[in-house]
């Protein structure tokens, strides 16, 4: 394989991403012409076959159907040509043919496994075809392999990553991803709606939001954005305004509490409790109320919230964790262990569960089990640190 081609693919990808204007993140296909233009003639000199030459010429002339046809013929004859797969996939993506584009890029990735940009582009295809878990995985892998190595590309990929995290219900990770935009002062109306969706635990994409919900979501997004930007005073005011305008909005107090938690645990606790007055059966609010109380060494106060949460959602790992810890720390060691072991069945690498179990086994005189859990916890903690700082 032509090694220079890797660089060319990356360059094409970067150019392509650069061409996507901020307000069109969700409709990159519009920029097909720029993509084609950006790759002008680069492969011709390196590929002697007539078909490749003709395909490149068609691409140069913006004759997308012809170029796609010709590249399809190339890959039929020489299926090990990464160059042809790349152009075929990117052109198909550009014309909105996301399924064949995805498949073509899959061939390319098979031939070039460490191609971050191709993985990221495949992730964007999968985003369009509704394969959200796959899209998230590919975009995150692409980012980890350097696809987000320029600010513009990073914006596009992080935005889609955050959208996908929200769509898949991983709201706290989504908010962390949106923190990138707040820290860099990047904002627009769609972004505010998107942050609002993550903040208010709504597993939708902005394009799927009903028009009568946009105002509320945008207001929540603006408040969270202010907080994530470091302007806590403005955030406080915006949240107050929000609570006044939308007193029944679920997860709004939870969102503010979540944001406050690291710097103002008391304020956060008050917000979590407030969420429970708006939405008494909110398991997440029950979990976070219990967690905030456990952090303050108030396990007896935490216990009722934890029990409410785990009774409503026994399959919720966080609910099992707070229930286990609350019971353990109020002296009910055996019941605490039951919850924590149940949690490990769902999530065997849950560090908090291993940490709590170490203490629980230790208290109950199971010295060897406790030591095993301690060493496991250390291992998991070290692995997690290595993941963050490889």
């Amino acid at each position: 394989m032509n090694l220079n081609f890797c660089h060319k693919v990356a360059a094409t990808f970067l150019f392509w991403l650069k061409s996507i204007r901020f307000f069109n993140w969700a409709a990159p296909a519009i920029f097909v012409l720029a993509v084609l233009h950006g790759a002008t003639g680069q492969v011709v000199a390196h590929d002697p076959t007539d078909l490749m030459t003709q395909a490149a010429a068609a691409r140069e002339q913006n004759d997308l159907p012809e170029a796609i046809t010709l590249y399809s013929q190339v890959v039929e004859r020489t299926p090990n040509s990464p160059d042809a797969w790349w152009f075929l996939g990117s052109l198909q993506y550009a014309t909105g043919a996301y399924v064949p584009a995805r498949d073509a890029l899959s061939h390319y990735v098979e031939l070039t496994p460490k191609a971050g940009p191709a993985l990221a582009l495949r992730g964007l295809c999968e985003f369009e075809t509704g394969q959200f878990p796959e899209a998230l995985q590919d975009i995150q892998r692409g980012i980890s392999m350097g696809a987000a190595n320029q600010p513009r590309n990073e914006q596009i990929l992080r935005y889609h990553e955050a959208l996908l995290l929200t769509r898949l219900g991983n709201y706290d990770q989504a908010l962390k991803a949106y923190g990138y935009f707040a820290k860099n002062g990047i904002r627009n109306p769609d972004l505010m709606v998107a942050i609002g969706l993550a903040g208010l635990h709504t597993p939708l994409l902005p394009r799927d939001v009903a028009s009568d919900q946009k105002d509320m979501l945008s207001a929540a997004g603006e408040a969270a954005f202010a907080f994530l930007s470091g302007d806590e005073t403005s955030a406080a005011q915006r949240f107050e305004d929000f609570f006044h305008r939308f007193p029944q909005a679920t997860y709004a107090h939870f969102l503010y509490g979540y944001l406050l938690f690291a710097t103002d645990p008391n304020g956060a606790l008050a917000q979590f409790k407030q969420e429970l007055t708006v939405s008494p059966s909110n398991v997440d609010a029950g979990v976070m109320t219990a967690w905030a109380l456990l952090v303050q060494n108030r396990p007896a106060d935490a216990l009722p919230y934890a029990q409410m949460a785990v009774a409503k959602e026994p399959g919720n790992p966080a609910a099992q964790l707070v229930a286990g810890r609350s019971l353990l720390e109020t002296g009910d060691v055996n019941d605490g262990i039951e919850h924590l072991e149940e949690l490990l069945k769902m999530d065997p690498k849950n560090l908090d569960a291993h940490i709590a179990l170490a203490g629980a086994y230790s208290k109950s005189g199971r010295k060897d089990d406790a030591h095993r859990e301690r060493m496991l916890s250390l291992q998991l903690s070290n692995e997690s640190a290595e993941t963050v700082n490889p």
Binding site: I355, A356, G359, K363, G365, K367, R374, A385
Partner: protein
């Protein structure tokens, strides 16, 4: 048998006690007064405690013997010169770059031996960039702050404390300074007093004087399991869980004894012989005799060729090498990376030659 006092006596007596406690608050010797009040019934625990490192965990400058012994402390660090100068009851921490100087009064000295100062600059609290270390009898960079590279004179003063940190600092080094996670310097008493660990002891004392002491006794900490005791002490000395979550690894974590101890294979959270207080009486100064600690090890381990102690754990082996000075090998001294402080490693283990520091 409990003697009930006539109710008419109760109010003036209670007021008197409150008055004593209240007027003693905020003075350097408040914890001595509080301890003296407790000493009426708990003499053995109260006499020495105010003079221990915990009892003097925070000192007010006027009563800090370090400043009396060292009227001027000075160090040059890169482009900055640090001076701690004491005149009368006032101690000033200054840093200059030769052009400008920032001088701040020291209000609080944290620590009895090694000392760090928390400084108030423009309404924000800072941990002083320089600390005093007895091992060099002088100033050096505060442990953990070696990585800082101050670019301005303001940054050179020290590390600005994060929002929740002042409550953590004062919460451990003083008493009644933190309520519901918030710092309340008006009620803060320097050092760790009875009330710090035995929450409710002041109320108990008042009730005791009214003949109701038994009903109001604070929880008996001696009844905590070793695991719970480790977590209790770990609130300030860092629990095992805190250190694991925090990710601090290497010799710098030798300072966190509850974490180190819990990593030991012999740590059994249900066995009182391995509890923090089995070896350390928090009401007394640190015992330094090796033979004292040997007796603690021999509560579980047999001497070579001797019968094991009663109820010895099945895996508690006799040491094949020595019959005394256990800690010198099995709890070796470890220097912090800055070389300025040394701690016995509480991760009890067989230390093999050339083995690296674990966990």
């Amino acid at each position: 048998m409990r003697v009930l006092k006539p109710s008419i006596l109760k109010l003036p007596l209670a007021l008197l006690v409150i008055l004593i406690v209240h007027t003693s608050a905020r003075s350097q010797s408040s914890h001595e007064n509080a301890a003296a009040s407790c000493a009426g019934c708990h003499a053995a625990q109260s006499q020495e405690q105010p003079h221990t490192p915990m009892g003097m965990g925070l000192q007010l400058p006027a009563a800090d013997p370090l400043f009396t012994a060292h009227p001027v402390l000075k160090i040059q660090k890169g482009p900055y010169t640090y001076t701690v100068e004491t005149k009368g009851s006032s101690s000033i921490y200054s840093v200059t770059d030769g052009t400008r100087t920032i001088s701040l009064p020291i209000h609080w000295s944290f620590g009895k031996g090694a000392q760090t100062w928390v400084l108030d600059m423009n309404g924000e609290l800072y941990e002083s960039m320089m600390s005093y270390y007895p091992s060099i009898d002088g100033l050096q960079v505060t442990t953990g702050d070696e990585v800082l590279d101050p670019k301005t004179l303001e940054e050179a003063v020290g590390r600005k404390l994060r929002k929740t940190e002042p409550a953590d600092c004062f919460g451990c080094h003083s008493t009644n300074g933190v309520a519901e996670g918030n710092l309340h310097l008006q009620t803060m008493e320097p050092g760790v007093t009875c009330e710090h660990c035995h929450t409710g002891s002041v109320a108990h004392m008042i009730a005791g004087l009214q003949g109701q002491g038994y009903e109001t006794a604070p929880p008996n900490l001696a009844k905590l399991t070793s695991e719970d005791m480790s977590n209790f002490c770990g609130r300030c000395h860092r629990t095992w869980a805190t250190v694991v979550r925090g990710g601090t690894r290497g010799p710098i974590d030798v300072r966190f004894q509850p974490y180190r101890l819990a990593n030991s294979k012999c740590f059994d959270g249900a066995d009182p012989r391995i509890s923090c207080v089995a070896c350390h009486d928090p009401h007394k100064s640190l015992a330094t005799s090796q033979s004292y600690y040997d007796t603690k090890c021999l509560a579980c381990h047999a001497l070579k060729n001797s019968a094991p102690p009663k109820d010895a754990p099945s895996d508690a082996k006799a040491c094949p090498v020595a019959t005394s000075n256990c800690a010198s090998c099995h709890m070796p001294e470890v220097k912090l990376p800055n070389g300025l402080m040394t701690f016995h490693d509480h991760e009890i283990r067989v230390v093999k030659p050339g083995s690296s520091y674990p966990n």
